[in-house]
Amino acid sequence: MDSSVPRFPVTYKSLSLDIKGNKTDVVLCSYDDHFLVIATQIGAMGTILHARKEEGVSIEPTFNVSAVFGKRDEPMLLACARQLIQDISISGSSKSLVISLGLKDHSAETLKGVVSAVIENRLW
């Protein structure tokens, strides 16, 4: 074995759960400057959103959330990304979030299920 091959630097976790009867695969990865979250029920990544914290002048941070691939006008997906970037910020990390949601429905119940599954298994 070559002892100079470095250890793989990315921490990741993958799990599977049931949300409203749909099998949902969730993968979380922690890179140097981003967290990546993938939640899929459709076998593909689906819509990809980018969320980041903006350090402004005021004490409260503001967050910028936008869909960068896929459905651009789904408020529930934006809300999901917003909740998670806020949770990341509260935990003290200033990394950005890339989240991909390939879900069969965009109901509040489904998104809540995704958010709680991610927070339960968070890497931050």
Binding site: S16, C29, H34, L36, I38, T40, M45
Partner: protein, 151 residues
Amino acid sequence: MAREEPDVEVLNEAISSALVFNDEVKDGGGVQITCFSEVVNDVALHFQILRLPKQIYVWIGCDSAKLGRIYAAAPTRPKDMISVTSILGGASDNTGAGIARRLVLKTGLNIILACNIPKNSPMLEADAEKMLVQKLIQLGYTRAKAEGSSS
């Protein structure tokens, strides 16, 4: 316990030893994650391959574990022409777009690629691409092409 089906035992053993070919493969249900690292000319290249049923996400890290630029590439109609788009970053530096495109060309897969290889390193890009394609073929993820290896 009655040993009336020794064949099943043998079969189970054969299957489980065939599955343990790669330590870094984790199977979280419908998702298979493969990670490996190689050193090329004193540069550490890290690869993370995430296989979903209809898509593959790949991350290539060059020394650091930054996410880098993200591209989406897939064969598109008509005639299976390959389209690539930059999802994150990639405005002034599109190192990796070529890799994404050629990955789709060689494997026929729907790909999301994240890559932090610095620009102006064509040799590094080429090495990374070669290792990646080899691994994808080895894992059996590529669609049937003329010279694909049978598994």
